[in-house]
Amino acid sequence: MRVALDARDLACERDDRWLFEALELQVRDGDMLRIEGANGSGKTTLLKILTGQLSPQAGKLEWHGEPLRRVKDTFLRSLLFIGHAPGVAAALNGQQNLAWSAAVAGVEAPSRAIDQALAGVGLAGFEDVPAAQLSAGQQRRIALARLALIPRPLWILDEPFTAIDKDGVGWLEQRLVDHADRGGAVIMTTHHTFQANDRVNSVLLGAAG
């Protein structure tokens, strides 16, 4: 098993307000988990907790049965995160952006592999165009090229379908399902309805107040 993320009795307080309490989560190989909730219900905060960047006020977060904080290094080597802001520098082109992303994530990426990943997200021919000159959707595609370039079992994605066109949405959906089918796991926040919607589990935030 590659993915085993457990959250027990998780609670988060922000500025004296409880965003959620007693949250239970279990993510294993092949799981797709969607986190739902109204604006301000703490979706992004929960993702930050699940990626180990914020610590919850209460509850346990475990990676393969060990407290996440203690195995942070191995956890981070299994995690691919694409946030609300995708981490694509406007001044750099796709090649440069991905070379940096891969190296910082600890993965060696020869320029051929980067070109391939860019072609995979439909950006063939745009390799050396600065991201500032690309559309918002194309910038997000640069970020999504990491999915192919940086092989990681656990994907945590904050609103991955934002700014992606119709074709791209279909492709991305397939990409996520494929990843899960091949034994990876996906946690995401999105309002998108999957075609294979029964494949996706949901957690609703904010219902408990």
């Binding site: 960047q53 609300h84 520098a89």
Partner: protein
């Protein structure tokens, strides 16, 4: 986006171990990235130099063009102007990385954030502090700074500006999430810059007066060593707070 391309892009297995890049490689990539960004922004690295020249020009106009008076105040004046030029360049240090989410990626890297920050600050110093240090003696000539002080001016600015970059980055990291961080940044950072200013200008003054600049330079070096050890962790901590609260 064709299916063919899609299939091509997932030739590797999910999470299969691939060739890894270590800490040094990651830092090198960070340096390459910062240099590429700077190259893309073109002449921006010249701005601190122009600022230094402008500020220096104001003093003969505001005080007096008398060479002996200018020579007396030149070491301190050049140091103050260079320090302000460093300060102005710091506000932008993390701002775009914060806005586009790159900082978040750095935080989720398996490499320590402090090391990546150090790489970033090193490039800032290379593109701001080093040009300032090399340019300042030229302005020293215009202020009738005795040539005996030139080398010490370069050395003190090289050492001191690295400390200024490191300390300033802490302030930049603390204010990166604030909408109007610029003025606040100077308020937070300038008091901490004072020791560097004292020893930096002191070294040049000692050299000009025929004294020995060694002790002051050594103290500048000591402060740099202290900043190198402590500042990266403070920067990393401050960034985590600014981004995640």
């Amino acid at each position: 986006m064709t299916r063919g391309a899609l299939n091509q892009s997932r030739t590797d297995a999910v999470g299969a171990p691939s060739a890894t890049v270590g800490l040094v490689g990651a830092c090198a990539a960070q340096v390459r990235r910062e240099l590429a960004v700077a190259r893309r922004r073109g002449g921006e690295w010249l701005n601190p130099l122009i600022f230094l020249a402008l500020v220096t020009m104001l003093f003969p106009l505001g005080i007096s063009p008398q060479p002996d008076l200018l020579a007396t105040i030149a070491p301190g004046l050049l140091w103050v102007a260079a320090l302000l030029a460093m300060l102005l360049s710091l506000d932008a240090l993390f701002r775009s990385d914060h806005a586009d989410g790159s900082l978040e990626q750095m935080m989720l890297a398996p490499q320590p954030l402090a090391a990546l920050c150090l790489a970033k600050v090193a490039v800032h110093w290379l593109l701001t502090g080093v040009p300032l240090a090399l340019f300042a003696p030229l302005l020293g000539v215009m202020l009738s700074l005795p040539t005996a002080g030139s080398l010490t001016l370069i050395a003190s600015l090289l050492l001191g500006s690295a400390t200024l970059s490191l300390i300033g980055a802490i302030g930049a990291a603390l204010t990166v999430g604030l909408p109007r961080g610029g003025v606040l940044l100077s308020l937070l950072i300038l008091p901490l810059y004072i020791p560097v200013l004292i020893f930096g200008a002191g070294a040049v003054q000692a050299a000009v007066q025929g004294g020995f600049a060694g002790p002051a330079l050594a103290l500048l070096g000591a402060m740099l060593a202290l900043a190198l050890v402590g500042a990266p962790f403070a920067i990393a901590g401050a960034l985590r707070i600014s981004i995640h609260g």
